[in-house]
């Protein structure tokens, strides 16, 4: 995909399809070690060993509508193209963690791209009652969102309520602006 943030959205959609109630997304950029690592961990239904092995096969999918499942094979290929790595760990009934790493300055490493739209895309999924713990770290600087905190403040008001989704988008955009300004300084 054009941006790594599109892969992150795809991984989050996988987690939601697996019935996750908690999704932890971490993006870690280490400029000294020259690595960019993306972790998406969920507490969904998980996969058995055989399914885990087949999950990176582009012709394997749990969908009934198609016979290809390209999400995982694509991000794995993207990582391998950039001297990086791909790790999938899963346990039935516990959940799944996907960790993908890239050589940060690799010429073929796609830009991270629009993380705000990615997070909004996942938060607007029609599944409700799930929480996101998101952190983006660049060396010692970080920005994050914990929707559990947001829900505590909102009570019964859903995250998708128009005024709330606008708040979320503004919060994310401003947080990212501050993060990048701090890092550039």
């Amino acid at each position: 995909m054009r941006e790594l943030s599109l892969h992150i959205l795809d991984l989050m959609e996988n987690a939601l399809a697996a019935g996750a109630q908690h999704i932890r997304v971490t993006v870690e950029e280490d400029t000294r070690a020259n690595t960019l690592t993306i972790t998406v961990a969920d507490d969904g239904c998980g996969m058995d060993t055989e399914t885990q092995a087949r999950a990176v096969d582009p012709y394997y999918t749990t969908r009934m509508t198609r016979h290809v499942g390209l999400g995982l094979p694509l991000i794995k290929a993207a990582a391998e193209r950039c001297a990086g790595g791909f790790e999938l760990n899963s346990r039935v009934g516990k959940g799944t963690t996907v960790m993908v790493s890239f050589q940060r300055d690799h010429i073929d490493r796609a830009p991270l791209g629009d993380m705000v739209s990615t997070l909004m895309g996942a938060l607007l999924n029609d599944r409700d009652a799930w929480d996101l713990a998101f952190v983006h770290r660049i060396d010692e600087h970080e920005f994050g969102l914990d929707t559990a905190e947001v829900r505590q403040i909102l009570g019964d008001i859903p995250l998708g309520y128009p005024a709330v989704r606008e708040w979320l988008e503004t919060f994310l955009r401003q947080g990212y602006e501050e993060l990048y300004i701090t890092v550039a300084a």
Partner: protein, 124 residues
């Protein structure tokens, strides 16, 4: 609307929303954007962003949600418009530049944009 970003401001927002909810008439309008791998690869995230922008610009009160792949991958990005009492209409190959006309004609004028329809579900 002033820029707001803190959790403190979210608390104030809650009070306002609770007041609004009491008087809000749910329009019964939901815009659904397909967000499976096929949709994402085809640009559905950008289409969703355009939908949110257009609704905000026109101050239209509608729910926006995302769903997974429904199997019509070659027609992604797919956008469904569901309104109470009306058939659910599925539009195909919806790029961000098509969103303005879609909202204007379907939501504002109440006219389905037939040339872009790829599916319809009669409401029961």
């Amino acid at each position: 609307m002033p820029q707001i970003k803190s959790l403190e401001e979210l608390r104030k927002l809650r009070q306002q929303v609770e007041r609004d909810i009491a008087t809000r008439k749910d329009t019964g309008t939901t815009v659904i954007v397909g967000m499976g791998t096929c949709g994402i690869a085809a640009g559905a995230r950008e289409t969703m962003h355009a939908v949110l922008e257009e609704l905000r610009k026109r101050d239209i009160d509608a729910n926006v949600t995302t769903v997974g792949c429904i199997g019509m991958c070659a027609r992604e990005p797919l956008v469904d418009i569901e309104q109470a009492g009306k058939p659910r209409v599925t539009y195909g190959n919806v790029t961000p530049d098509m969103v303005s006309r879609l909202i204007e004609e379907h939501l504002v004028k109440g006219q389905v944009v037939e040339e872009w329809v790829v599916g319809r579900l009669q409401s029961s």
